[in-house]
């Protein structure tokens, strides 16, 4: 009897947890295996596997003349977008943590870019930046910052520098809601009596923020930051919809470059993916380390 109970109890978890594991294996783990294998295969542009390629795909990738610029741009993209997002979100969270009438409605407005498809948000920005009649240009014209329509100055997406800057604006715009909400949750978990004690001690607003709020907000901040790094690094629709990474590859990041390589050089694209994936893994490891203590009790 005890033997059959033991067997039942060792199979039972599989019955309940097995379907979830099967799904993860099918669409998360197995694709990683195939992706790594593809990086070492020689595959023709029309999809025939011609044999093993050794490290050739990686060599071709590193010989791409555009790769160097793409790597630098990816670093700039992640650092600038994440830094701007976190700084603005710190202020936004502080603001939306105050008591004022209509706070709930204002918070609802904030989620729009989070709930909407990033692809569609990017298209609106592309439309609003139209050199002929984009509403952003209309506004800049009205306040006197733009002299003429249909010029290089109004064609923001036409030159790589201004295009990349505007796409970073869009990336910050769609990243702020989650970061703000995550920091708000962190702020609300700080016990109020600490603040009362600080008030009794006569600490000013800025000192209280620096010595109490910021240190206690650190865990929420780190989690929001790392999740943001992964999201921003993997961000595809913004660049795809606004410039397709062009002109040339001058506004590409490693993510959009990987996608463009996939159209004709799938082996090389897989090599790029393996590098991207390795970077994501490093951030995931940092995340696991940063959150390990908090996870012990689940």
């Amino acid at each position: 009897m005890s033997a059959s109970r033991l067997r039942a109890s060792s199979f039972a978890p599989l019955l309940w947890v097995g379907p979830a594991m099967a799904l993860i294996a099918l669409v998360v783990l197995w694709p990683v295996v195939i992706m790594i294998r593809t990086a070492f295969q020689h595959i023709s542009p029309d999809g025939f596997i011609l044999g093993w390629a050794g490290w050739r795909n990686f060599r071709y990738l590193f010989e791409e003349p555009d790769l160097y610029g793409i790597l630098i741009r990816t670093v700039i993209w992640v650092i600038v977008v994440v830094a701007a997002t976190m700084l603005i979100s710190l202020a936004m969270a502080q603001l939306f943590n105050q008591n004022f009438p209509g706070r709930r409605v204002a918070r609802w407005a904030l989620i729009a870019p989070w709930a909407a498809s990033v692809m569609m948000t990017s298209i609106v920005f592309r439309w609003a930046l139209d050199p002929n009649n984009g509403v952003i240009n209309v506004f800049l014209h009205d306040i006197g910052w733009l002299a003429r329509f249909n010029t290089d100055a109004s064609d923001w997406l036409g030159s790589p520098g201004t295009a990349f800057a505007w796409m970073m604006v869009v990336a910050v715009f769609v990243s702020i809601p989650f970061a703000t909400y995550a920091l708000l949750a962190g702020l609300q978990s700080i016990p109020t009596d600490i603040y009362e004690a600080a008030k009794v001690d006569g600490a000013g607003a800025w000192r209280t923020y620096r010595t109490i709020t910021l240190p206690l907000l650190r865990p929420a901040f780190v989690v929001a930051l790392l999740i943001n790094v992964i999201n921003v690094f993997n961000s595809f629709p913004i660049i795809w919809e606004m410039t397709r990474g062009g002109p040339g590859h001058q506004t590409s990041t490693t993510t959009t470059f990987m996608y463009q390589l996939k159209q004709s050089y799938i082996g090389e694209s897989a090599a790029m993916s393996v590098l991207n994936f390795a970077l994501v893994m490093i951030v995931v490891m940092l995340y696991l380390r940063a959150t390990a203590k908090r996870r012990e009790d689940i």
Partner: protein, 279 residues
């Protein structure tokens, strides 16, 4: 002016400043979606005017968009998002329930795997997904999109349901066991109804994520008939001309409902996305 001042005079200046700043931020975050609606409602002869608002609004693009095949792609989106949501609930509910109620060997490894998959995004492994579904002859199939969307959104559902079940006292279930109910009976009659807010949150979140998903659908579909809206709307963008009216009418139809749905679960989403880290 004096009327405004007396109405607002009840609040200290500090509150008024916060209020003004917060409302300003709220409006800024809504602007792109207002512009989306305005562009969709512009009469065709005012589409390219250099102004903020047209002199009149016109619903024509919302009516004749249904003649462009939009309805078909809307259905694909509904099927993909609906299918992914059902699949997520089917696999996440048992996993979340069991991990909340039992300690077993491999439990921690499973939870860690779920946490890691939550951090992954399909973008980084796109080539692998493409070749896998090519081998399975499932390109242009809504089942491929359902599977991928379900797989990458399951973690959220597992976390949030696990938290809800953990919060339901096990004594409630034990009492029903004594009354002769089976485990499945208890799950359906006691536990799930109590975890309903968590289920609704997981349901809406999965639906919206799958509804908005872009890069996997772009990669795994080639024919227009198989494309969900996020990809299909790009067909209004030609090489030389963009059909802005239909593009934005379609975007409005695809966006406004999910913003409203998201507002319903707004307070609970962060908990699910950062579970396993913030307790």
């Amino acid at each position: 002016m004096t009327a405004t001042r007396s109405a607002l005079g009840r609040f200290p200046a500090r509150t008024l400043i916060f209020m003004g700043l917060a409302y300003l931020a709220a409006i800024i975050f809504l602007l792109p979606y207002l512009e989306m609606i305005i562009a969709a409602l512009r009469p065709s002869n005012q589409l390219l005017d250099r102004d903020y608002l047209p002199t009149q609004f016109n619903w024509h693009s919302f009516i004749d968009i249904w003649g462009t095949g939009f309805g078909h792609n809307l259905r694909v989106s509904l099927e993909v998002a609906g299918g992914a949501t059902i699949l997520v609930l089917l696999v996440a509910i048992p996993a979340a329930y069991y991990t909340a109620r039992h300690r077993f060997r491999g439990r921690n490894a499973f939870m860690l795997l779920v946490l890691i998959t939550q951090m992954f995004q399909p973008t980084a492994m796109l080539v692998g997904l493409y070749r896998e579904f090519l081998d399975l002859q499932m390109l242009d199939s809504i089942y491929a999109l359902i599977l991928v969307n379900a797989g990458f959104n399951m973690a959220f559902a597992v976390w949030i349901l696990n938290a809800y079940v953990t919060g339901i006292p096990a004594e409630l279930e034990e009492a029903a066991f004594i009354d002769g109910s089976t485990r499945i009976g208890v799950l359906f009659r006691i536990t799930l109804p109590l975890a309903l807010p968590g289920i609704v949150t997981a349901l809406i979140f999965t639906f919206i994520s799958a509804w908005n998903e872009f890069i996997v659908a772009l990669t795994l579909t080639t024919s227009q008939a198989a494309q969900p809206l996020t990809v299909a709307l790009n067909n209004y963008i030609g090489q030389y001309q963009v059909d802005w009216s239909h593009l934005f009418a379609g975007s409005v139809i695809a966006t406004i409902p999910v913003i409203i749905l998201f507002a319903l679960i707004e307070g609970k989403v962060v908990g699910g996305l950062t579970a396993g880290s913030i307790k």
